[in-house]
């Protein structure tokens, strides 16, 4: 199952030009399953991935309901993260990548993330 999931993530990577990594991690940024291709090393580490949990928690207090996702644009890259508490789904791509197409990949991965939510005990 783990290998099949990782193979599936690796097959999804080239479907969007500029997509560099797909990571499923816990709230603190510890990876469960990941596939990456020349992604910036810092984006694969827990301190980077773990910031989303804090951001989404604060964003949920803005009076618009529970925060579902956050898109962050940087000078050279973009990061799209989804809240599947207690898991986090992260996409890292180049600045020129198609943001909407990356966003739509979440639907393809929703079943896999749901399976992980039920099977993995997040510490």
């Amino acid at each position: 199952m783990a290998e099949e999931l990782q193979k599936y993530l690796k097959r999804l990577l080239p479907t969007v030009e500029g997509l560099l990594s797909i990571i499923i991690s816990d709230r603190d940024g510890v990876q469960l399953v990941a596939a990456h291709d020349q992604a910036p090393p810092g984006t694969l580490r827990p301190p980077f991935l773990g910031t989303f949990a804090i951001a989404t928690e604060q964003a949920s207090k803005l009076g618009l309901g529970k925060n579902k996702s956050i898109i962050s644009f940087y000078s050279g890259h973009q990061v799209i993260q989804f809240n599947h508490s207690p898991l986090v789904l992260t996409f890292v791509a180049t600045r020129e990548a198609n943001t909407g197409l990356i966003y739509s990949l979440e639907e393809d991965l929703r079943d896999a993330v749901t399976d992980l939510q039920g099977a993995v005990t997040v510490l």
């Binding site: 999931l5 097959r11 469960l32 804090i54 991965l109 079943d111 896999a112 399976d115 993995v120 510490l123």
Partner: protein, 155 residues
Amino acid sequence: MGSCCNKDETEGPATERTPILAHTTPVQAIPTAPHVTGPHMSRTDEESALNRILQKTANDIIDVTYIEPHSLEVTEISGRTKDYKSQVAAMRGVPRHAAKLPSSCNQAPQSLLARELISPTDIRFISEQTIAAANALESMEVKHGEPLVVQFAAT
């Protein structure tokens, strides 16, 4: 204060506590919610109500300056990674994520669809040859010289 044209001041000079509207019924007090402290609640109930209010306020406050720095130790990260790997590896069953792409398709669907189309001449040729092949198959029949079903003599 009162109206500047009001001449019916029978109860002495108006003060700051004199009602402006003289002939109105007093406003009924709005009934308090059950959880709001009242005169008959015990001290513990008041404290628990206060704690609830404080907790709710703390949850609703957006404070990005005070964020608990929960930097994980390297050993803890590696331990968690191993645990997650073993749990994911132990997951059984067929993964529900559908392999929606054909196995030979390693490129993005949009890049395949954006390729140059086949020329109409080729499409017409393929269609004609396909129709001819289908007609040829339909016209095939077996011409037998001997009966196909033979009755064996009873013993």
